[in-house]
């Protein structure tokens, strides 16, 4: 038994040489580097100013070490002898920028829809008033996912985008998206920007490959198109009962469409407050009306904006909103995305006191958002919880290196899940109905252990033996358990038995698409066992394909098994033996985590990761587990419960 005092002494002895070198604290004055006058101290992007200094002082080495391949007549960005251009000198970043190309290992790779992206990759920068273009907000599209409105800071040739949040759709191809993400993620201290007229180049560190620079081209902004009438559709005015003047008034953002689901705007759930727009008509033209609108995103104010409404289409000037932090900003993101991502005009369909907008929202599709006129009756609420059994999204997140896989009806991985939907066996042995979120003993009656479901109605349950009742239920419950119990919000008899885990689609590796996989499980298992430390383990993909993971080059293994009918072989970085060592070390630690409640399973899994299966996977649990292992990237956390608002 290791004595606590001995460990403390050892730790302190080991740490002492490090702390002996502890530097003095940075001077307060140094933290205000180049912030400008107090009235310009806006937003969280101040970091970029300091980061610029930090990168120039200490970061040059690491930039060079990583082998940036870009070159420029203007000199190497980051070279202190040729300081990067100032925002003002290099031109304004404001406007709409389309990613045109990137450089990879010295080659220019053009962005091509259908080849390396599923859609246009663009960013729209909107400067805050009186900021000189140095601070503001940005949004856009990764070519696959919508970029959630966030603050930027652009100063001294450095651009700080902070954390770029996006939707989490999976797309193929998505190389351009990955290039853009890598550039943002790997340069938290700021991306070096070189502007030349309508061209903008981004230089930065990229640890995945040597992608740099990224080249953007400025395209017409929404504002420049706002006055154009040539883009207006010739849709008949029958879409506008009551004439174009009917748009005047106060409209409340009521709902939006996501897939097949209508998501109702609910202050306190997906908005801080009620979002609204108020349209004031100043002029009646031969084609329609023109005027201004203003409003609220439910969190931030939308400034007065010019609009024209004609022939069923709404065009408008640049939409500027304040950039305050919001507690619940999903509705804001949707509203601003539609306003900003549809420069050619939003198609408007009016029906009495209801107005629907069709345009490009965060999903990049043309799903409607719906407004109701102020004072109009609210449609009766059917339910605030998505219908049980409707397919949830399967999403994959990375939290401190841990890969998190979970079914969800939320836009983001929550810090702490609050409500979840589970389809599970429920057993009442007399102490209250328990949810079988872990293993169920296949006895008569069945047995399991899990949180007690308070408020569960077991009337009419027919499965019973030896005084024990059980059944399969789809439940919406509160989470996490408090004192070993959850509260049941809604229940229905399970129409399908889903006691397993869901996995994201497309788990069959890309390199195995279309390859022969006729080898049987026996020969593959036998072969894997013979590989020793090159064996990275097996797993079954969603389509039933058995995937062999190997450490090292997969080609010889594909050849070796070709005669048996072929097999999907992919390369991973950890052997199965190493995965098992990690598995053995983490199992005892999981028992003590209260959120898991003893319901977990651990196995070697896809990607050479150790798969930890838990009832509910949220950010907090992922962070806890990341802290338990030396290498969090070795862990894949798979949640079973569907995350709900």
């Amino acid at each position: 038994m290791t004595d606590e005092r001995d460990v403390a002494a050892v730790f302190n002895e080991g740490l002492a040489p490090v702390l002996d070198e502890a530097p003095p604290a940075p001077a307060w004055e140094s933290l205000q580097y180049d912030f400008g006058p107090p009235s310009h101290r806006i937003g969280s992007g101040w970091l970029a100013a300091v980061a610029a200094a930090v990168v120039i002082l200490v970061g040059v080495g690491s930039i060079l070490l990583l082998g940036r391949v870009g070159s420029s007549d203007r000199g190497e960005p980051g070279d202190s002898a040729t300081p990067p251009s100032d925002a003002a000198a290099g031109g304004s970043i404001e406007g709409r920028w389309v990613l045109e190309s990137w450089e990879e290992d010295g080659k220019q790779i053009p962005v091509k829809i259908g080849v390396n992206t599923t859609g246009e990759v663009f960013l729209v920068f909107t400067a805050a008033p009186d900021s000189g273009g140095t601070v503001g907000t940005f949004t856009g599209s990764t070519g696959c996912n919508g970029i959630v409105l966030a603050n930027y800071h652009y100063s001294a040739g450095f651009l700080d985008l902070g954390q770029m949040d996006t939707t989490a759709m999976g797309c193929d191809p998505d190389t351009a998206e990955r290039v853009l993400r890598a550039m943002v993620v790997n340069n938290p201290a700021g991306i070096e920007v070189v502007m030349d007229g309508d061209t903008m180049e981004w230089y930065g560190r990229n640890a995945v490959s040597t992608w740099s620079p990224l080249t953007f081209r400025r395209t017409d902004s929404a504002s420049s198109e706002s006055t154009s009438t040539t883009t207006l559709s010739t849709t008949t005015s029958s879409a506008v009962p009551g004439g174009p003047g009917a748009i005047e008034g106060h409209w409340i953002f009521a709902s939006w469409q996501e897939g097949n689901d209508e998501i109702r705007v609910e202050p306190g759930v997906n908005a801080d407050d009620e979002p609204w727009l108020e349209f004031a008509v100043d002029e009646v033209t031969s084609a329609g009306v023109a005027g201004t609108f203003e409003g609220s995103t439910g969190c931030n104010a939308i400034w007065p904006t010019d609009f024209e409404y004609s022939a069923g289409f709404l065009t408008h000037g640049e939409v500027v909103a304040t950039a305050g932090g919001c507690g619940r900003d999903t509705a804001q993101s949707v509203l601003l995305a539609v306003l900003r991502n549809t420069p050619d005009g939003i198609e408007v369909v009016m029906d009495g006191d209801t107005m629907e907008w069709y345009g490009s929202n965060l999903e990049g599709a043309s799903h409607p958002v719906t407004f109701r006129r102020e004072g109009a009756p609210v449609e009766p609420t059917t339910t605030t919880v998505a219908e049980p059994n409707a397919n949830p999204d399967m999403r994959v997140y990375e939290v401190e290196g841990v890969e998190v896989v979970t079914p969800t009806r939320l836009d983001n991985l929550p810090a702490q899940a609050t409500h979840v939907e589970v389809t599970t066996t429920v057993i009442d042995s007399g102490d209250g109905p328990e949810l079988c979120l872990g293993a169920v003993m296949d006895s008569l009656p069945p047995q399991c252990s899990g949180p007690v479901a308070n408020g569960l109605d077991m009337e009419g349950w027919t499965e019973e033996a030896s005084g024990v009742r059980w059944g399969e239920q789809t439940l919406v419950v509160t989470w996490p358990p408090v004192d070993g119990a959850v509260e049941v919000i809604s229940q229905s008899e399970a129409s399908y038995l889903d006691l397993g885990l869901r996995y994201p689609p497309g788990e069959l590796p890309a390199e195995c698409q279309g390859v022969a996989t006729g080898a049987g499980a026996g020969p593959i298992n036998q072969y894997a066992s013979s590989l020793g430390d090159a064996n990275g383990g097996l797993y079954v993909a969603n389509d039933g394909t058995l995937v062999l993971q190997v450490v090292g080059d997969p080609a010889p293994h594909r050849e070796a098994l070709a005669a048996s009918g072929g097999v999907c072989v992919i390369e991973v970085s950890r052997s199965e033996a190493e995965q098992r060592r990690i598995q053995d070390s983490i199992v005892p630690l999981l028992r003590d985590i209260p959120e898991i409640g003893g319901s977990y399973a651990v196995a070697t899994g896809p990607g050479g990761r150790v798969e930890v299966q838990v009832p509910v996977a949220d950010r907090s649990l992922a962070q806890t587990i990341a802290g338990l292992v030396d290498d969090p990237t070795a862990i894949r956390l798979v949640g079973r419960g569907i995350l709900l608002p």
């Binding site: 730790f11 070198e21 530097p23 970091l47 930090v54 932090g325 290196g401 630690l589």
Partner: protein, 158 residues
Amino acid sequence: MSSVGSGDSEVYEAVAPALVRFATALVGPADAPDVVSAVVVRVLGKRSLSSIEKPQAYLMQAVMNEVRQLHRGRARQRAAMVRVGPGQQARDAADIARTDLTDAVMALPPQQRAAAYLVYWCEYSAVETAELMGWSDGTVRRYLHLVREKLGRFTDDR
């Protein structure tokens, strides 16, 4: 909108030495000032330091978050360095005279090292550490348990 309050510099001066030592324990002396600078600047971008009820705890948690990000970035960087070529990790080593023990301490995951630093070096209790870092008591104890496991081999000589 942010605003630098009149009491911010006093709050900063009061907590900065402890923050820098905490950051040093987590990322080493070379990166500690950058981490603290980045954290304070980011916080100031959102709110005044003097408006924070427990600024030291708040900023230490912010430092912890920053270090986690840095830690992940470093992992990616190391992966890239493998591709770019050897001999690139000089800055991590700084000028510290390393021993196996120091290497073992600095190889602990950041959360475990933070828990051990606060309990063993600063002599906070597990409960105080939990409160300071926004963790549960159990989390602190788990981290310390893991530290004991990893450093146990060095106690044999005592």
